[in-house]
Amino acid sequence: MSTLDRPALRVVVPPLVVLAAAAPPFLAGPYAVSTLTQILAFSLVVMSIVLLMGIAGMPTIGQAGFFGVGGYATGLLAGRLTTNAPALVGISAAAGALVAAATGWLLVRVRGTYLLMLTLAIGELLALVAIARVGLTGGSDGLANIPTLRLLPGVELRHVAVVYWYVAGAVLLMAMLIALLIRSPFGRALRGVRDNEPRMRALGYSTAFYKYAAFSVSGAFAGVAGSLWVTQTLFIAPADMGFHASALALLALIVGGSQSLWGAVAGSALIIVAQNMLPISMQGYGPIVLGAVLVVVVYALPDGFAGIRNPLRPRRTPASRPAAGTDEPRRMERV
């Protein structure tokens, strides 16, 4: 997550990030804060795609399916089992991982566009399950009337600011976890699989296992994102987990830069803001704006927002750039 090389910065920056993350409810009105909450929850799905696609080199357009699994797990159990939000996050993570693990074995042999289509099929099939089980899930109408969750006994996640702090804290924690994972030997192995699978196999790595593990782990993170999302909206529908939702997440990833967790947040912000907050006179024209942004980004920012350099900072030399940050899209074509 950081290329901070000066030790002083390492000490100063984390508290600053926490402080900045905690500040919005003191500065902004409830609608802005609830929009931020939405952005952060959504960005965690995008981060799970960073792990899967940016690091492991497995393109996906079905990640919203696992987001939905987590969301439904939280929504369905909230009234029946517990209203303890962190417990539900754990359950949703497990549900996301389990469903991803149950479907992931289909994927390990398949590559490129076929892999993209297979993940699409998995996401669509998961959405169809939610649609078909009308009695349990409310069908395509979605699951409404989810009770308000509690952070601790007695602390309700009802006030906009409290929900925001909870979601922001959880996303920060998960982002740190993903960053650690990316830098761990596991993450390095995934990058190896992405860059040269035959070589990794020759070195004795079970590449199929690594891909399977990456898929399952990213399913868990997407599940957590679903849980956090539902904590705020108290509503989830199959429309949140199908092709369209996955495409939006993928779009956020590309706009942000496919290997950057910061980029994931920036991309999510753009998508959510474009969807929710366009001037009222522009309502109904959201797709045009999103489409135009997409066209501009593809042409002008090959590495997404993450590729924008801070003009005040000296350019890093190519040697100091992490290997993962280089011409990644070209590699995507050959995965």
């Binding site: 398949v110 099929a121 099939l125 092709f243 797709p287 489409g291 135009a292 593809v298 995507m332 050959r334």
Partner: protein
């Protein structure tokens, strides 16, 4: 034996309808598949082209419904489709070195803009498109009425399939196209100008998508959302058949046609799962589709 004939009798109409639907899917998907095979370009605006064709039919044919307007609609479709294809090649070429993810996202952006413009231009109501005069009735097939137009659709689809087969397998140009799908670099080293062929294939593929829209108009109507639906189905068809293979698109189209009609009639409860289930199953058994080749690995 009699049980079989009885079953066939009961489901004949559905099987015929699956054929009509499958051939329509083929007309739409074959361009998508060839374009991908040659340019490594997954054109996500393909569904928007189809919808544009359906609107052409709604606007040109609907008020009159006569043969002449039908021919006019098809001509407009061919022209606009070819133009759009050339335009699309021009805007995606600069990105070719960045790989197919960037190109696919560019076409996604274009399709979002295009669909919104169609919504603004034609409104949110579904337009129904009449079949051309003389073809708007129905004939009796073993006692059950069936719309004549859908039979004509089968004829059209077969015609396009035969044309594609002849052009791709029996002409020099077709041989070049197949060679480019197999290995573009080698073809280039032979001194053949691949660019013209690339433009030609994208123009033809896009024109076919718009034509499919005109042909599909009387069956599916024209309205917002249709583009996304047909794009997903076409992608499934192409992936099942194998990217880059025209014959694969035919097999995929016919298969999905039956899955969506016969499958629905026989097992309505699982109908929605059938199409994606079929694709997942085929990809698990054959990771490159039925007739696809392995994508070259870096």
């Amino acid at each position: 034996m009699s049980a079989l004939t009885q079953w066939f009798d009961a489901n004949l109409i559905t099987v015929i309808n699956g054929l009509a639907y499958g051939l329509l899917l083929y007309t739409l998907a074959v361009g998508l598949s060839l374009v991908f095979g040659m340019l490594n370009l997954l054109n996500l605006a393909h569904g928007t082209f189809f919808l544009a064709g359906a609107y052409v039919a709604a606007v040109v044919v609907a008020p009159v419904g006569a043969w002449l307007s039908w021919v006019l609609a098809l001509t407009i479709a061919l022209a606009t489709g070819a133009l759009a294809g050339v335009g699309l090649t021009a805007v995606t070429r600069p990105l070719a070195r960045r790989g197919h993810m960037a190109e696919a996202l560019l076409t996604l952006g274009i399709s979002m803009i295009g669909s919104s413009l169609l919504l603004v231009g034609f409104g949110a109501d579904v337009r129904s498109v009449p079949a051309p005069a003389g073809l708007d009735g129905s004939v009796s097939i073993f006692g059950d009425p069936y719309p004549v137009y859908r039979l004509v659709l089968i004829g059209f689809g077969l015609l396009i399939a035969v044309l594609a087969e002849v052009v791709l397998e029996r002409t020099m140009m077709g041989a070049t196209v197949r060679a480019i799908v197999a290995d573009a670099d080698i073809v280039r080293t032979l001194g053949i100008d691949t660019r013209k062929i690339l433009y030609g294939v994208l123009a033809a593929g896009s024109a076919l998508a718009v034509v499919a829209g005109v042909l599909g108009g009387p069956v599916l109507g024209a309205g917002p959302g249709l583009d996304g639906n047909v794009l997903l189905t076409a992608l499934v068809v192409v992936v099942i058949g194998g990217l880059g293979s025209a014959r694969g698109a035919l097999i995929g189209g016919l298969l999905i046609g039956q899955v969506q009609t016969l499958g629905t009639a026989l097992a309505p409860a699982v109908a929605p799962f059938l199409i994606f289930g079929a694709m997942a199953l085929i990809l698990v058994v054959r990771p490159h589709g039925l007739l696809g080749r392995a994508e070259t690995t870096a």
